[in-house]
């Protein structure tokens, strides 16, 4: 897999943030055996921002989450959270961050309340203060009436909300979430983003990994990860603005030849992704008319759309988002087969 179109991250964004940053990642690489999962990633997240790490599976975003959440120690590069070095001041960092895992982390045999109390104790909270925090948070996530039910009896969405309450119990300044909307229906996803937005207004920095475009859309800024590298970092709008105008997708019988002819005729550089010819144009609808006129009878279907984050991903990496994902999935499967598990 060669990504020819990878561009370098904006150095300007990293410099703009400065010392008061909530999260500072610089030159972080990580390898599992001989596979390089993160390759010199650097970025900085100011306080109160909702920052998204967008990438397909295998892009390195989960590894980055693990390192940021202190689950695994960093190998090279430096990470700081609220000015505290993650490797040297791990305990101080742990007190300041809340972690919401993608896989459930609740004890199903305990009630929602008991899970929170247990978690609070691990963070050194106790007594009436802890009880009050549990009550407030369960109320805030709308589960006060289910507080004394074992979490195994709660629905998937309700459990996610307890997970969120768990991550927030010790009032962290930075909340780190791994694919937070896993298992949530669209309504619950929107609720989650609304909730994160209200947290961010209170000054809590939210850093989340996602592979969902619509979730990424609601982040303040996005880091696009592809094969362990930071492909781009910007606001969702700015990322989309990199593709001026519209994206014209054309279905034809033989896309490669068609792309070559379009290039010759119009002097644009079409991409063929997944058998579809993609052309970025500022005057999409007019261009479609020109295409139809120039190649009568060859076009089977054509679509003109505002650029999406997926288009940005394709532009930057030369891969269709899901394609990159399934390739790495296949690679991972191969690997686990070889390990004989």
């Amino acid at each position: 897999m060669v990504s020819s179109a990878t561009t370098q991250p904006e150095p300007a964004t990293a410099a703009a943030s400065g010392a008061g940053a909530a999260v500072e990642v610089s030159g972080v690489s990580f390898r599992y055996g001989d596979r390089l999962a993160l390759d010199g990633v650097s970025f900085s997240v100011p306080r109160g921002e909702i920052f998204g790490l967008l990438g397909p599976n295998g892009s390195g975003k989960t590894t980055l989450f693990r390192v940021l959440s202190t689950l695994i120690p960093p190998q090279s590069g430096t990470l700081a959270i609220l000015g505290k070095d993650l490797a040297r001041e791990t305990f101080a960092v742990r007190h300041r961050i809340g972690v919401v895992f993608q896989a459930p982390s609740l004890d199903k045999k305990l009630t929602a309340q008991e899970n929170l109390i247990h978690h609070g104790h691990l963070y050194g909270l106790r007594g009436a203060d802890l009880k009050e925090r549990c009550r407030k948070l369960l109320d805030r996530v709308g589960l006060l009436d289910r507080a004394n039910e074992r979490t195994e009896t709660l629905s998937g969405g309700q459990r996610r909300r307890v997970e969120l309450a768990k991550g927030l119990l010790h009032e962290p300044d930075v909340l780190i979430l791994d694919e937070p909307s896993t298992g949530l229906d669209p309504g619950a996803r929107r609720d989650l983003m609304t909730y994160l937005r209200s947290l961010s207004r209170e000054g809590v920095t939210c850093l989340l990994t996602t592979h969902l475009m619509e979730e990424a859309e609601s982040c303040d800024r996005l880091a696009l990860l592809c094969q362990g590298k930071l492909a781009a970092l910007d606001t969702p709008d700015a990322l989309k603005a990199r593709i001026g105008g519209e994206v014209v997708s054309v279905n034809v019988r033989e896309p490669e030849g068609f792309a070559a002819r379009v290039q010759e005729r119009f002097g644009v550089s079409p991409q063929v992704v997944d058998g579809v010819v993609r052309i970025e144009r500022t005057d999409g609808p007019r261009f479609v008319a020109e295409l139809a006129e120039a190649f009568p009878g060859q076009i089977e279907a054509v679509r003109v759309g505002r650029p999406t984050l997926e288009d940005v991903f394709i532009r930057l990496t030369g891969h269709r988002f899901w394609e990159a994902q399934s390739e790495t999935d296949a690679a991972a499967k191969d690997k686990s087969k070889k390990k004989g598990r």
Binding site: S69, L71, A92, V99, P104, S105, E114, Y123, K166
Partner: protein, 271 residues
């Protein structure tokens, strides 16, 4: 938020982790029933069936087999409950609970200690319930030997939970753990003097028994039950001081190894 010092809440963490082990246990009714019924059945069947043909030469008083076997069952309960308690390590990892503990500001020592204390309390509690059955035997229970027995049970359970932890930490499935139990734990118990005395066994067996750390825990339990070396001493049964010394060392070594092994991240954490 006033953040406590890095390990300022060591005791609180140990308490809450151990508390959770107990709550989990009592909320799984089949575990509760099984853990209590199995030894009772074992003791009733073996004790009654073997007493007619088996005459161990234990102590001057010449106790019956059921009585000889009784402390053996206590140790078996401790061994199995303590070791099975550490199955929760594997479950915690598989169910994802462990990851939350690993990113909490809890020292590794507190995490290990919480797990071991939880298993220790569970095992001791069940041992204590079983001791009540001893009332049917000619064993005199006094505050002194009951206190001694509790001390021994706590110490031995701690060592055995540590032993289970060492195996459980790196395992990805509970099936694998069962293999360890049948290959390691069962022989360990059989060759501890719980089932038959070392005296009279062939030399290789005799020495295997002497090298088994559980032999000393077994002897310690016998000594604590009678508090009278004349009744509990026999050829091949370690004396009280040696038994105590080896068992304390066993517990310390198991904790140290558990602590060491818990510093490793295993593939399961990264699933």
């Amino acid at each position: 938020m006033a953040a406590p010092a890095a390990t300022g809440h060591f005791a609180l963490s140990v308490y809450t982790l151990a508390w959770r082990e107990l709550v989990r246990f009592f909320r799984q009714r089949n575990r509760v029933t099984g853990a209590f019924l199995q030894p009772v059945i074992f003791w009733a069947l073996f004790g009654a069936g073997l007493s007619a043909s088996f005459r161990p030469d234990v102590g001057a008083a010449g106790v019956g087999y059921a009585e000889y076997f009784f402390p053996g069952i206590v140790v078996m309960i401790l061994l199995f409950t303590a070791i099975f308690a550490t199955v929760s390590v594997i479950e915690d990892r598989r169910e994802g609970f462990l990851q939350g503990v690993l990113v909490a500001p809890v020292s590794r020592g507190a995490m290990v200690m919480g797990k071991l204390v939880g298993g220790t309390l569970l095992a001791t509690l069940q041992g204590a319930i079983f001791l009540l059955l001893g009332l049917t035997q000619d064993i005199a229970f006094t505050p002194a030997n009951v206190a001694a027995l509790f001390g021994v049970m706590l110490l031995l359970s701690f060592a055995l939970t540590g032993l289970g932890f060492i195996f459980a930490w790196r395992m990805e499935s509970t099936q694998g753990f069962h293999a360890v139990i049948s290959v390691l734990m069962l022989p360990m118990w059989l060759l501890s003097g719980a089932f038959f005395p070392a005296a009279g066994a062939p030399a290789w067996l005799y020495w295997t028994i002497q090298l088994n750390p559980l032999t000393y825990g077994m002897a310690l339990t016998r000594h604590a039950l009678y508090l009278d070396p004349a009744k509990s001493s026999a050829p091949g049964v370690p004396g009280p001081e040696l038994a105590l010394g080896v068992t304390v060392a066993f517990a310390l070594v198991m904790f140290a190894l558990s602590y060491k092994i818990a510093g490793r991240r295993v593939a399961g954490d990264l699933a």
